[in-house]
Every structure is written in structure tokens, then in C-alpha cells.
Subunit: 190 residues, 2 copies
Amino acid sequence: MSASASPPPRTGSRPGGRSSRIRAAVHRAVEELLTDQGDELLTIPVVAARAGVHATTVYRRWGSVGELLTDVATSRFSGDIVVPDTGSLRGDLERYASNLAKDLSDPDTLPLVRATIGTAGEQGASACTRERQEQLRAMLEREEARGHQAPTVERATDALLAPLYYRAVFTNQALTPEWARALVSHLLPD
Amino acid sequence: MSASASPPPRTGSRPGGRSSRIRAAVHRAVEELLTDQGDELLTIPVVAARAGVHATTVYRRWGSVGELLTDVATSRFSGDIVVPDTGSLRGDLERYASNLAKDLSDPDTLPLVRATIGTAGEQGASACTRERQEQLRAMLEREEARGHQAPTVERATDALLAPLYYRAVFTNQALTPEWARALVSHLLPD
């Protein structure tokens, strides 16, 4: 996401050109390495070799493994889950929580989340969850626009996003859709 | 924690001897490097240099950065927080949640949690939280032994541990004691 500081204005860059082919190859290499990976550390030379590009190209564009992982996580976790519109907050949150549980159970997701947190600190962690916060806010604000009371974003984060991510990242328990829906019933009792 | 498979019975090892001095130096090196660290990847040669020991010694004893971090996290997150005994479940959980919030806010804690998750996957994540689960279970079982109803460990994990770890690892929001206590009031209404 961050524009490279060094080169002059990129008037010559073509969409779909060399630059975006490299980006796609490097992103794919990161995802494949994270899925295959044993104990090997993810380094820029290893990623570059897998992507078939020069390591200097990767260094120049991303600077560090942390920035590269943040970029991969940002594109992986943007636009991948749609905000449901079922007509009720409960319905929206139940569907959203089940979809997120399913996404976090995808075998490709967790290694990327863990590696991004581990290597890119707060910036990386935020790349994994920023859009989730915004989606939650959109559902809560829509409920208020309907003239109903809704929990705060903070409360909904503690009650929904937190257990979904905690269970995925810290435990080996399954993220079942039933459990995800039960989280909503604790947030919205009645 | 894992015993080395190769050497014969360690009848010659003295407590407080060379072996435990090396372990202490290597653990300290990991903690210092994580606190100082910029973008540099934590590798066994870097840790060994900082600890003043041979890299082969570190490889022989821990095998990989993931196993080393798991060992450091296991000792760091064992016995560091005491289970309170205030006479009521609410009092116990409020004090426990505030203590955990404080511990997770320690500038040395978060880099270790993130690096361990990132490098050692599920085993590492479990090293960070295993004792928390057991402590929560102890408080809940004590309440049941008093003849009162208590939430399940699963429910208490979703409502307390999850938001504490999520906020620490994924956000830049402060883990205040007021917020930690409010989590308890959502778990135990009335």
C-alpha cells in the first residue's frame, strides 16, 4: 500500500504491466511459503527465489518482511467478506460471525495472520482486522439509522471479533457456525 | 520444556551449573532482542551472539527459533500471575482481569507474545495462554465448590481472556483496569 519513495512519478507504469505482475508473483510466493512452511523462517531472499524475481526488487519495493506481510494481509483481508443485509441487526451479526468463523478456519488464513502479527507488530495486526472493525461499525450504525439501539463498536468487538480471533490464533478449538451465532446471542440477549 | 532426546541420562548435570547459566543467558538475550528490535529478524545466530554462546549450542538445545520462543514464553507466562482469592467469583475475576490487563500492557510482554505466535504457531500460542485457561478454570471450579453456579470455562474464555488478548495483540487501545472489570460485569450481569 505504501508508495515507494525513491522513483520519480510513475507516469510510465502500466496497469497490468510488469510492476503488478511482480506484485502478484511475490504475494503468491508468500502465501504458498506460509502454507507449506515447516520451521523455515520467511526471509526476502526465500520469497524472491520462490517468486522468480531478484531479491533486490523485493527489498526496493517492500523494504522488509514485515512490510511485505502487511501488504499481503491488507489485500487478503480487504473485500473478502461482505457485510450482510438481512433486515435485522441480529440476523446481520449472526451471518457475519459465521462468515468470519469460516474465513478464519481456512487453512491459508491462519498462517498469514500469525506471521503478520509476529513480524509486523501493530501495523501487521491492524492489517488483519481493520476492515472487520469498519464492517462491524457499518452494521451497528445501520441499526441505529433504523431508530433502534445498538451496542457500541467497542462492546461488539469484545463480544464478537475478540473471541473469533482469539480462538483462531490461540487455541486448536473449531470455530463452528453454532458457536459463532451463540456469541451474538450473548451480545444481544433478550 | 522438551527434554533433549540424544544425550545419555544427565546424571552429571548440576542445578545452577553451566547448563542453566546458558539457558538463562539465552532467554535474556531473546527478551532483550525482542524489546530492542527494529525490523531485524530474530535468528539463532543473532540470539547466540547476544547471549555470548555458540550458535551450535543453541541449535542443539532448542532446534529452532520457534522452539526457543516457546520455551521462553512458557517460563515467562508461568507463575507470573497469582489466582486471587477474594471470597467471591466476581471479586476474583475482577482482580484477575485487571492483573492480566496490566501484565499484557508491560512493554516486554507484547513483543514476546507476537513473536511466539508468529514463529511457533499453535504450540507457541498455547505457551502464551495455557496457564491462563487453567487459572480461569480454578476460579470457576472454586465457585462451584461453594455451591454456586458459574459460567463454563469456554464462556469465560470468550468473555474475558479473548478481549484482553485481542485488544493487546490486535489494537493500540489501552487495557485499562476499568475496562477489564467491565468485561466481568458483562459475563456476570445482575
